[in-house]
Symmetry: C2
Subunit: 190 residues, 2 copies
DNA sequence: TGGAGACTGGACCGACTGGTCTATATATGT
DNA sequence: ACATATATAGACCAGTCGGTCCAGTCTCCA
């Protein structure tokens, strides 16, 4: 597995990866319905056949994979933020600042990669469930850090939800205003 | 009963009204790109000619009008919530409870009517600006109530932003979980 | 060396998209 | 009564949608 990774760095990224990354990026900025397969395929430099080889159920499958991939990335940001932090609140602060930077790097437009990709309508219950699952993963990660800093079980749960809500809401406002400082100001509200 | 009843009993309303209401409802649940003109027209029981008579620029025009209309309704909910409240925080609590009820009335799926309608992609700068404008209106309304209860100028601004962020983020989590209690728990975080 | 499975490339499809256009109906003012 | 503006009705259009299909190419192992 590790040898494969080393060789992989030199090679062009496998098609499946390119599809997932392109999907994650495009869905995040224009939403699931805002991205056509043609756009997506052109962005990923892949033909249609490959899409339906790697994702037999087409667009919905790809969206699920893209959201999962994006979520994994976000989880890593959380881990990094809390890794060297001396306290929960300082970890949270670092996280908000990292997200502000991320916001600035995405044309100040992109939405939450999970909701933009998966909040598509009531007809797609699986999407909603998956979004719930991914959010739960994020919440659990933050809760664990709170526990690590000595919070009670109940308190940790509360803290993680609170931070999640602030970040989601803050991101929305930052988006409308095109202003990442909304994110940087979030820790003051904790 | 709130005047923000988007699920309207299709009365003999003028065509333009029906178009706006239908657009607001459909965009809110499936997003701007998730709704086709045919769906929309069928829902509003109006022919295509009427749409382009009342909204010469078609779908984008209608979306703007629908978002404005939805925002006005929301503003009324805010006003109602704070009208008879003995304090800012009790007004905020009432507001959160009203929104929870609203959430339950919309299949627990619908998103923020403004962002779902107007956060469409970077190619549509006017939409983003209008969303900013509508959000600003909401923020101003809440800030005025805070001032009315004796908050300082600076404090009132902070309070309104804080409440806005909590509601936006809370709604997102409520959506993923299909659980309106997230909204009812929001005041504890203020 | 050859055969099998994984993967690519893209032509093609019916359904549907947002939008245009013209003919007709309805209301209003004189 | 007529003229005028406003509004309705829907056929029609080119373009795009997500999806299917299969011939071709690659990779790997017998």
């Amino acid at each position: 597995m590790s040898s494969y990774d080393m060789i992989d760095a030199e090679k062009p990224r496998p098609t499946k990866d390119r599809l997932i990354r392109s999907a994650a990026e495009l869905f995040r900025t224009r939403g699931y319905h805002g991205v056509g397969l043609n756009d997506l395929l052109a962005h990923a430099k892949a033909p249609k056949g490959s899409l339906y080889h790697h994702f037999p159920n087409g667009k919905p499958d790809l969206a699920m994979a893209a959201a999962t991939w994006a979520s994994d990335g976000l989880l890593r940001v959380v881990a990094e933020s809390f890794a060297g932090a001396p306290s929960f609140s300082e970890g949270a602060t670092t996280l908000c600042h990292k997200l502000a930077k991320l916001f600035d790097m995405t044309n100040q437009w992109d939405g939450c990669p999970i909701s933009a990709t998966l909040f598509v309508g009531p007809e797609n219950a699986e999407f909603r469930k998956h979004a719930d699952h991914l959010y739960a993963g994020w919440l659990a990660e933050v809760r664990d850090h709170a526990l690590r800093f000595g919070a009670s079980e109940e308190d940790a749960l509360k803290k993680s939800e609170h931070l999640f809500i602030l970040i989601q809401g803050g991101w929305q406002l930052a988006r409308a205003r095109s202003d990442s400082n909304v994110m940087r100001d979030l820790p003051n509200k904790l």
